[in-house]
Symmetry: C2
Subunit: 378 residues, 2 copies
Amino acid sequence: MKPRLFTPGPTPVPEETLLELAKPVTYHRAAEAKAILAEVSEDLKYVFQTAQPVYTLTCSGTGGMEATVCNALAPGEKAILCTAGRWGERWRGILKAFGAQIVTVEAPYGKAVTPDVLHAALAAHPDTAAVFATLSETSTGVGHDLEAFGKIVANTPALLAVDGISGLGAMECRTDAWGLDLVVTGSQKALMMPPGLAFVSASAKAWAKIDATPIRSFYFDLRRYRKSLLESDTPFTPANTLIKAQRASLKRVRAEGIENLWARHARVARACRAGVGAMGLTVFAERPNSALTVITVPAGVDGSATLKALEKKYGYKLADGQDTLKGHIWRLSHMGYTDAFDVLGALAALELVLIESGFKLDAGAGVAAFQKAYAAGA
Amino acid sequence: MKPRLFTPGPTPVPEETLLELAKPVTYHRAAEAKAILAEVSEDLKYVFQTAQPVYTLTCSGTGGMEATVCNALAPGEKAILCTAGRWGERWRGILKAFGAQIVTVEAPYGKAVTPDVLHAALAAHPDTAAVFATLSETSTGVGHDLEAFGKIVANTPALLAVDGISGLGAMECRTDAWGLDLVVTGSQKALMMPPGLAFVSASAKAWAKIDATPIRSFYFDLRRYRKSLLESDTPFTPANTLIKAQRASLKRVRAEGIENLWARHARVARACRAGVGAMGLTVFAERPNSALTVITVPAGVDGSATLKALEKKYGYKLADGQDTLKGHIWRLSHMGYTDAFDVLGALAALELVLIESGFKLDAGAGVAAFQKAYAAGA
């Protein structure tokens, strides 16, 4: 059986990137290592759509999120938390650990935080130091309208910090044009790499705040990263084999073109939703994003057992819901090195396993609808 | 030309470990991933010589050091810093970032902090919350007598936190028997892996202090790692391909046996020092450790130019001194997947390049002395 990874992180890694990882290790302070970091940093600016430097941290995405909080917020400062799921709650955990005064703007699971409630919250709390939001809420499949958030926050002294971990690269995100002050992503999603690296951008507005805020970490001190990157270096020993491999995956992103990458994800996502609908299933997210499709488990079906059968019988690894959503949703990633034909196969396998479990479904309905919608184009 | 890595981190990685890194990425919350982490955690306990759990963090060694400080020290608490070089100073940077009251116990570069000065400092500062020390001070090649430090600190309420990043595995270090409360190491030294993972152990005494101390991080909150590890899991997405590859390198450590690994490093280090002496050179460290040999650049020789020639002509990559020691010392690692014959070759290349630069030296003197000392055995 052929194993196939459809979890919303980690995602499949291209062969040329995997082969980079098998090469002998080299010294991380050598000229070659600096040239690689310089190249990766340039390509990251392109991926982020920013003219500001993007910093490479050796940690998971959560570490990158922590870096934004501990650099930009002083203890007791006010933070507006936009949360619509588990990853919004991740911001909360970090904000609490760093003693922020949290104002919550919440949407129920499956829905998105709307720009107008953010606008109202900012109006009610003009002393807000920063707004924390999530591009792709991977726990529910919801995407947020960061362009609108950016316009609202830009008119205030507050910063807009964005968890773009699972969204960046998979959906339109224009850091500079949208006024996103702090953006975090990880290597293991649309950037087609194993986990282990986080990337963080900071706007001039963010830097002004950071430079005026006492730092509360050594390892995550972005000023050290800023200083080192001037010499194409990192302040601490980086996961240099991951950085070298990231270069290979970023070349693939460059070759495809970031707008094409967004369009490909959007097209696959639309086709996937059409397929899901034709199977008699519903999409969980009210405002779905292009990184993944989250499917509501239909009544009478054991969601977790279905995923186990899917993996055991056909090798397809999708993700279950988390926390209270466990057993109630299926999460199917189409990020990064996953194309339309991969997703078509996943829908076929899901059809099969549902039919085998007694769920009423016309074999082929889902894949035909997927194909039809995909053929209709961008 | 064949490139050969002799920097004191990163170090060469065994082929079977590199090949693990080229395998397709899998889901980090799957049963297989948990089984791998469980296995790695058990093998780390063996490497650390501890019965306590060892936690796997996705970060560089500095991140692991920060984890000990932000978990175990409250702001303003007193810390005795034993420093004899750049890596002792790394502790200082972290301690300052977390607002510790620092009492410095210092030895000049090339010398070790002695147990008696630590004893005196602890007697003068009975309110010390923790002592911070370095097993192998890689910037100078000095090793510290952690066994003696442990005996002294054990009689006080203070914790003993050890940076074992470049020493652990390369030299005797018995976490439990020596009373080392917090020990940190990294993947990229004697543990034969690329950088990207840090490992942290904590004694019962350390846990009592951690549980009584308000945490000042989310990502480095060791209580989260403790809770997750009960289910063979990590609190945040780990660099799971690195963990899987670390398993392969740890199997190699297990197969060799930790005492044999220490003895091999000690034997190679003694032979290397004999070779260096026979070349008319001197070892920089007064109390050298087995992880690396640090050689004083002789008068009239351009240290940095010699290293450049060594790499360019013969492919041998040694490390220069750092900061004020740049150009004044050569650092030659014999950690991990580096054996006697590798080091013999490095000495031969160093002899050659020195002779070619006009340095007076009998060709073969160094390698013969190395071989003689090595043959004399453990």
